[in-house]
Every structure is written in C-alpha cells, then in structure tokens.
Subunit: 305 residues, 2 copies
C-alpha cells in the first residue's frame, strides 16, 4: 500500500471540570487527508482547501508531525500529503490536532501499523508544537483514541480511555478570535485550595458518571469553578448561551479547548438539536457571525475514508 | 425489635490525591454498639471500654447523632447505648465516625430501616461536629456505604459508591497526637494551578483505575502533590514508612485522614502482610510506640453483630 485516505475528527478538550486532562472525539466535522509514500526525501504538501496553510512542511502542523516520524524511519524517505481541511483553524475544536493526528494515523497504516496509539500521540504532538508552541496532547489523545480520554500524565505520557454512555455534542463557534496566549494569561497562577477540591470532586464525579452511564451524575458534575470564570470573559454571551443550552435539556457544557467555541452535552440527538436551536437563538440576536455543529461521540477516532 | 447490636468499622479518609472526597471502609478494627429503645426521654450511655468518653449524650459523638435523630422522631422517646470502642480515638482512621455511623445505622434498624443511607450520613455528621467542630462526611460516608465512596458535594450532600477490585489495607498508627487544628492550619490557602491539575489528573486516574480494576493504573495514580508535602511533616518518618511499604509491593498509600496513621494499599493479603512487616521495621527503630492493622476493604459498612 503506497497511498491512503483518512478522515480526521474535531475534538473537545478541557471538558468542563476536566481542564487539561479530559477530552472527547467528535464524529463531525472531519478533515480529509490523502497520504502517499514518496521516493523523494521529506514531506511535500498540496492544500486543496481555502485556508492557505503553509506548504513548507516544517511550518505546517501535519508536516512537522510527519517529519518527526520520518526521523524515526530508515525504510522510507518521504511523504506526499493532499490536505483538505474542513475544521476551521482557531475554532477551539482541535483543528491543528486533527491535522497532526490524521496524517500520523495515515502514515502508521502505510507502515503496517507498527506504532502503538501512545507512540502516535507522541509524534502528533510535534504538530501541536508548531500550532501553539506547546507539545500538548489535549486534542491529539481523543482524536487518536476516539471516545473520551483522560491524560493522567504528560511526562511520561499516560492516556486512558474512559467508557461512557451515548452522548451528543452541540457546538456553537462564534467567529471571533481568542488568542491562545490570552486564554493562558487570563488564568491565575494560584487558586484557592477550596476551589481545587470542588474541582477534583467534580472530576471524580464526571469520570464516575461516564463509567456508570449515569446521566444525572454527569450533569451534576459538569461544573468548572476554576477556569470558566476567567476564560468565559473572552467569549461574548457565554453564560447566556450556556444557560439556553441547559434550559433546552443539555446535561451541561462549557468552553471547548481554550475557546471561542462553546459546547453542550446531551443524552439524545433530539435534545442536542433543540439545544442547537436555543444556542443559535442567543447568537442570532448578537450580530456576531457563528456556526454550529451537532455530533455524536466518535468512538473510533481517525478513520480510513 | 427493641435492642440491636452492630459492629462499626474504621475508615480511611483523604485517599491520597482524593483529599476531602475519597474514602474507604475497613473490615477491622470494629467498634461494638448495643442500642435499645427506651421509655425515658433522651439518650443514656454506658461505656464498657477504657476510653472514658463522655456519658453526657450531647457531648458524646454517638449521643449527639442519636439526639439529632430523636428530634426527627415522634414515635420513640429515647435510646440506651452500650458502647464498646475498639478503634482508638485520635488515630486518624475514623474512630468518631465509627461511633456516629454505628449507632445511627443501629437506630435505623430499630426504626424499621425508614431512612436512606444519605439521611443516615446526615444524622451521623452531627456526631462528627461534636468530635471535631466540623460537620464532615469524610469517614461517615464510607462507614455507612461500605467500600470506596466519593463525596462529590457536601451541600447538597452527594455520595457515590465506586466499584473497585479486591484491595487490602495496611495501617501503621504511631502513638503520637496530631491535632486536627494543626493538620488544617499547616495547609496553604492557595495552591499552584499546575499542582491542582496534577492532582485532579491523578484523582481521575485513581477513580478510573478502581472502576476498571486496573491495579497498575491505581498505583500510578496514588500520588498527592497538594496535601502530603505539608501534613507529612507532622508524622515522624512518614516517607521512610511509605517507601518501605512501596518497596514491599504496595500499590501506594499516604496519610489516613489527617493522620497520624499511615496506610498502604495492596492487591493481595500476602503483600499487605509483607508491607506491614516492612512498615513495622521502620518504626521499631524509632522508639515511638505504634500499632498496625491489616484489613481487606469492607464492602458492607456498619453491620449487624
């Protein structure tokens, strides 16, 4: 096999109380990547979307991840990538992770699936480094493992898949820019121990709710007393949107990644669609451009197209 | 039924990273309480141990909990309690919780099991208030529910039982006094966000490890970067004891409650016994009096004798 096509998913990181540790994989939107092994050294990139992403591999998220993998390979010289990005960069639903994870999983198929998922995450993180300056697995992990993932530790990397009931995700993406640096700098360096305890109680409740398939417990645990009070300031009408979603029957939700997207979890597709209508309704009155997605959780992660 | 005898268990609160939220129930040591309905108003107490605990019900942990329950009752006037405390007060393994939980579960039996476990916890917490000035459920919850419990929220009280594999607990109780006030005051009011994230990552890992019956994940998650670095200063030779336990094969461990007891978790009874020998060995060289316990986890909580 010399060529392969994959679809690579959007993801939600920083799952409410699970800041920096819990993420989930969406079934849509999906990027499309066609990857081929070449006889020329390095990575060549052909973009067939309208995002004007860099074609210099070392400056391209997909390219940087593939270059890292090539450093580890003796048998092949290079890759050619045809990249069709669907997930808008800067939306907060893991666009760069989809780029990095998608091509690395594709490359692994071409190489006879020689690497473990954990190793794939490690390669893909070099793509994230190009995107944000930080080698983090927050979106890469759910994109590669699928479902809901826990990153227990970054060093050494320790990723655990968390069982969960059927869940549907509604996302509202306001067309504004939240700079990752701003989202980081707005957070306090120290937090009250009392709030930290509240947060880890909810993290434990959320993980238990997922594994016990207990929607009520999931809903009770979807509270973030540490990060949301700060980062919500960067997202216009955040609490109106969130409350509208909850009033429409969502279990809860919060900021996707470092924003600006807002996501809500629901127990059925019907509720998730009602939630979408109510969230839209808030933003239609603001004059800010936006778009929305409704998706079930993708248990598979990056998949063959 | 006018009289009943129960055995009420010791418990471990503040389960390493699960400070203030996770606890477990031991199979030994056990207090013994015989409770009878009386025709006289109030609670009378007869101590048949050597601890000289108060017999004035309002100043006695068991008595205060029973008085609170009586406030809720129209059909009965009072209780007589014969109290045989086995669990040493001040040891950090929930002696006061055993007193409060034991008599409240006994009373519930005498009243035809009319109250839910959650209501029983609420009554028993009035006993804890007498003991420590704070109405907390850290030890009450595992004593009444058995097994491993999560307190997701104190107000409203939200307690969840966590499934787990077979676990054995080794406890070393140094015969020193750690004042609860000192254990509280030594903690910082604020902690670095970075440490808080590490802690809730481990909390999520620990809960997942319990529910997935994954001893290795449990072991990796048994780290406390927030509380132990402070409270361990109040317990002589804490790290030597802990390291000896880990070297003998324990999964991990830490401070039981607010100390001074040190506990270690193991996957088999044989390992828990080896762990006990190694922990003892450290303390035998210190000249400090101590005693040890090895127990499996008690899935039942307070039980009929």
């Amino acid at each position: 096999m010399n060529s392969i096509k994959v679809k690579s998913p959007a993801t939600v990181a920083n799952l409410v109380c699970g800041f920096d540790i819990l993420g989930l994989c969406l079934d849509s939107p999906l990027d499309e990547f066609t990857l081929s092994i070449t006889d020329t050294v390095g990575v060549t990139i052909e973009n067939i979307d309208n995002y004007n992403l860099p074609t210099d591999a070392s400056k391209n998220v997909s390219g940087a991840a593939l270059l890292k993998m090539l450093e580890n390979e003796n048998d092949i010289k290079g890759f050619h990538l045809i990249s069709n990005k669907i997930i808008k960069p800067g939306s907060g639903i893991g666009s760069s992770a989809a780029s990095a994870a998608g091509v690395i999983v594709a490359a692994n198929h071409l190489l006879g699936n020689k690497y473990s998922k954990l190793q794939l995450v490690d390669f893909a993180m070099y793509g994230e480094e190009v995107a944000s300056g930080a080698k983090h697995a927050d979106n890469i992990a759910p994109a590669i493992y699928g479902g809901i993932t826990l990153i227990r530790s970054n060093s050494p990397l320790d990723i655990i898949s968390i069982d969960h009931p059927e869940l549907f995700v509604t996302i509202l993406h306001p067309q504004i820019e939240v700079k990752t640096a701003d989202a980081r700098n707005i957070l306090p360096k120290e937090i009250p121990l009392k709030n930290a305890v509240t947060q880890w109680a909810n993290v434990a409740g959320l993980v238990t709710g997922f594994m016990q398939h207990d929607y009520n417990l999931i809903s009770r645990s979807l509270e973030d007393v540490v990060v949301e009070p700060y980062r919500s300031r960067l997202i216009p009408h955040f609490y109106e949107v969130k409350n509208a979603g909850k009033n429409a029957g969502a279990l809860g939700g919060g900021i996707s990644g470092s924003g600006p997207s807002i996501f809500m979890l629901s127990s059925t597709a019907e509720i998730a669609t009602s939630v979408e209508l109510e969230m839209k309704d808030v933003y239609l009155r603001t004059g800010i451009e936006f778009h929305t997605h409704v998706s079930k959780i993708n248990k598979e992660g990056v998949k063959l197209a």
